[in-house]
């Protein structure tokens, strides 16, 4: 008797072996990458929320360079592990950790662990000298060029190291760098593109394609409205300020929820008489409103530098925003008592 034609018959030869093999290859690639690679972001959420403005999939070539022997090696700063320091994640008993989140002004420099003329290192040396009995450790996660969006990512990363104190130094200059068109947010980190960042293999290969091969992705298309909005400088400035305030508030919330004290370092510039631009003044004013006893402290750098210059007329900047040795001395010296107060040393 003939079989009824509706009977389902499985024929394994008709399976799409090519497609299955491709899926298997991609799965192997993903597993292989996961075995050897730690992704440069904490989670998709923090990545998507905090890298929205990175216009080349978050891997643009903001490069930090280190002298290694006779050569200079450059690292894409968004690799996060830009500073070749390793900290044990688990904090040893009795250790007090000071995490610094900032940009070039507070950057640890190419030789971590030694004084490189930046104020966190100088401050740390003074603290170690003043408290030889205390086990202190400086975890400086500052990266040149980072604005508050990427600093917030580092802040979240720093939480994994169980810090006892945060020193946060955001600067309005870098906000401008990070503020790209709003369209980038929508195009690069939404929908499928955002979901793909769950894949370590995609992240690594994107990094390779964009960074190593220097093949930056074309900029996404912005609508005419977005283009127009992009030309409105006052709207942009408002966006920068609001964004920065929002992200600093997020840092404070994250720290407060864990009872970690924070020191906000004020922003300053050399090219004005009072060492502060209009946006800098607004930002410092905002920091001042967030002061809360020893939980949140604020170091008013322009006022500090003005007083320092008045007492001992000296240059305090080596360029528009970076301190020279005298500036570093003043800022580091002013931070020491704040840190001691916050850590009850």
């Amino acid at each position: 008797m003939d079989r009824p034609s509706s009977t389902f018959s499985f024929n394994w030869r008709r399976l799409p072996f090519g497609a299955l093999f491709a899926v298997a290859l991609l799965a192997c690639l993903e597993l292989g990458v996961r075995a050897f690679y730690k992704p440069p972001y904490v989670s998709l959420e923090t990545y998507a929320n905090n890298y929205p403005v990175a216009h080349l999939y978050g891997f643009e070539g903001s490069r930090a360079c280190f002298p290694v022997g006779e050569q200079v090696q450059c690292v894409v700063t968004q690799d996060m592990n830009v500073i070749p320091q390793e900290f044990p994640r688990k904090k040893p008993a009795g250790e007090l950790r000071i995490a610094v989140i900032g940009a070039s002004i507070s950057w640890e420099g190419p030789r971590p662990g030694k004084s490189n003329g930046n104020y966190p290192s100088r401050m740390f040396e003074q603290l170690e000298r003043a408290h030889p009995d205390r086990n202190l450790r400086l975890i400086n996660l500052s990266v040149p060029g980072f604005g508050s969006t990427r600093q917030l990512v580092r802040f979240r990363e720093a939480l994994e190291y169980e810090p006892d104190l945060f020193v946060v130094h955001t600067h309005d200059t870098n906000e401008v760098r990070e503020d790209k068109r709003l369209a980038y947010v929508r195009n690069l980190h939404s929908g499928i593109a955002g979901k793909l960042l769950y894949s370590y293999a995609v992240v690594v290969l994107k990094n390779w394609w964009n960074g190593v091969l220097r093949m930056p992705a074309p900029p996404p298309v912005a609508t005419s409205d977005e283009e127009a909005a992009d030309l409105d400088i006052s709207a942009k400035r408002e966006r920068w300020e609001k964004g920065l305030e929002l992200r600093v508030d997020t840092m404070l919330e994250l720290a407060t929820a864990r009872s970690i004290p924070v020191i906000l370092v004020g922003t300053s510039r050399s090219d004005t008489k009072d060492f502060s631009s209009s946006t800098g003044r607004a930002l410092n004013g905002f920091f001042a409103t967030r002061v809360n006893g020893s939980r949140v402290q604020f170091l008013d750098v322009p006022a500090l530098l003005r007083a320092g210059v008045k007492a001992r007329p000296h240059r305090v900047f080596k360029d528009a925003v970076h301190y020279n040795a005298e500036g570093v001395r003043l800022v580091a010296g002013a931070l020491v008592p704040l840190v001691e107060g916050a850590l009850a040393l």
Binding site: L196, L205, P218
Partner: protein, 473 residues
């Protein structure tokens, strides 16, 4: 709603599932496809749905009358009416601004200051495609090649089927209507090949075309200051951008249609391996070139009225083909260029046939030479197609003729070009030398290619749904 967006993926998934849930009820499937297609078109601009239906209804009614009528005069009047309406729609929406502006410019040159007010007519997306598709239908009915379609739903499905509605392929009624008027199925082979077509289409569009668009746009933004190397690489890049863009679109259209149970005509057959201009037009935008052949070149007399008339017909066909692409003198120039290539080839053909060597090796080398020469002629032809003005064409040509070895951004352009076509060229070459080469490979070879294509899409696919070049036509 672009093919290369998540929105379309969701839309298509819903249509696909609903379509096959209806099983063999093909009339219900047709109704579903018509509704889906109207939604698809309305996502561009719902105001032009009326125009689409007007164009469709005119030809639906005219075709029924044409079939019923036996009086040649009356039939001629009817077909003239139909063609006039379709060309009128095209003329009004696509060419009126162009002709008014060109007329005013001509009068100004003659000393008459004319300042026509801007008409602000918006070009409805896909108008050139659906008007040509319905025109071919009524002309075929007029020629009694096919019967008129009595079911309006089937006819609406034929004209507005969303995979081909906005940028072709320009399907023929004799091919698609029988598929519409009957139960459709989705055998496993069609499922696999349809999915594969979509994947390769996305690869061509999102990886090749959109990435190269960045290079080309950069170059054409500074035509006056291009170095020689930049100009040359920008032209090569555009050749692959437009191929990736349009053939990618067609692949996705054919793939989605196949998943809905339809078999669309081949529109591209590795055009850059063409050995002569005639060969090129049998490989590039085949649905348009065969349309122009059947409904323009042959009615003009084709090659039946002696050599001079044949050459004139060839030239006129390509000139109008160029104008079909867009209302601009640069497209006319592009059409004229290809017309001249065809004319020159027709004149040289007896000589070329004589000198063509016969041996395997010599014949192969001759083919490579022809292919190389033709490719470069095509690349040069893309210049007026890409340029916005005749001045841009001139500036790029001047750059190419410029002396000096300055590279400018040429190395970057070359790097992009190399990266984008590194996988495409071997695949196409293998298919050219051995048809179905890819399908006949072992599963591991196919798997490797699928994985490579997917990875390139994931890591280097251009962000954002960028529009297709041919949507402007």
């Amino acid at each position: 709603m672009l093919f290369n967006t998540g929105r379309f993926a969701l839309f298509f998934l819903l249509v696909f599932v609903a379509n096959w849930l209806l099983g063999k009820r093909w009339r219900a499937q047709n109704a579903l496809l018509v509704v889906a297609s109207q939604w698809f078109y309305a996502c561009w601009d719902y105001r032009f749905l009326g125009l689409l239906w007007f164009s469709m209804l005119v030809d639906y009614v005219v075709a029924l009358r044409l079939e019923a009528n036996t009086d040649p005069k009356r039939r001629k009047w009817l077909i003239t009416l139909s063609v006039s309406v379709q060309l009128g729609i095209l003329g009004l929406f696509k060419y009126l601004n162009f002709f008014v502006a060109s007329g005013a410019a001509l009068l100004a040159r003659l000393g008459f200051g004319v300042h026509p007010s801007a008409l602000g007519i918006v070009l409805p997306v896909g108008i050139s495609f659906y008007t040509f598709q319905t025109m071919s239908y009524t002309i075929d009915v007029y020629r009694r090649v096919i019967p008129a379609e009595r079911n309006l739903l089937s006819f609406a499905t034929f004209v507005s089927l969303f995979p081909q509605l906005v940028a072709g392929p320009i399907e023929r009624a004799r091919r698609i209507l029988p598929q519409i008027n009957g139960p459709r199925s989705l055998p496993l082979d069609a499922l696999y090949s349809g999915t594969s077509l979509i994947l390769f289409g996305l690869f061509k569009k999102v990886f090749i075309a959109d990435n190269l668009a960045n290079v080309v746009d950069q170059a054409f933004a500074k035509t006056a200051s291009l170095t020689r190397a930049e100009a040359i690489f920008a032209l090569y890049a555009f050749a692959f951008q437009i191929y990736g863009d349009f053939s990618g679109y067609t692949d996705i259209a054919r793939g989605t249609a196949r998943l809905l149970g339809f078999d669309f005509a081949l529109n591209f057959r590795r055009p850059y391996f063409a050995q002569d201009p005639s060969d090129f037009w049998q490989r590039w935008h085949i649905s348009l070139s065969s349309w122009l052949r059947d409904y323009l070149y042959i009615p003009l007399g084709g090659n039946r009225r002696g050599t001079p008339r044949t050459l004139l017909n060839l030239f006129l066909t390509m000139l109008l083909g160029g104008l079909w692409h867009g209302a601009s003198w640069t497209f006319v120039l592009w059409g004229a260029y290809h017309g001249l290539l065809l004319v020159a080839h027709r004149l040289l053909q007896p000589f070329l046939s004589r000198v063509r060597p016969n041996g395997f090796v010599a014949g192969g080398l001759w083919s490579i030479l022809c292919c190389t020469v033709m490719f470069h002629l095509i690349v040069l032809g893309w210049l007026p197609f890409r340029a916005h003005t005749a001045l841009e064409v001139k500036e790029v040509l001047v750059s190419i003729g410029r002396h000096g070895g300055e590279l400018g951004d040429a190395l970057t352009y070359a790097q992009w070009l190399g990266a984008c076509i590194a996988l495409l060229i071997p695949l196409e070459l293998a298919e050219e030398l051995r048809p179905n080469f890819f399908e006949q490979r072992g599963f591991w070879a196919r798997g490797l290619v699928y994985a490579a294509v997917l990875l390139l899409l994931l890591i280097a696919g251009a962000p954002g749904g960028q529009t297709f070049i041919y949507f402007q036509f």
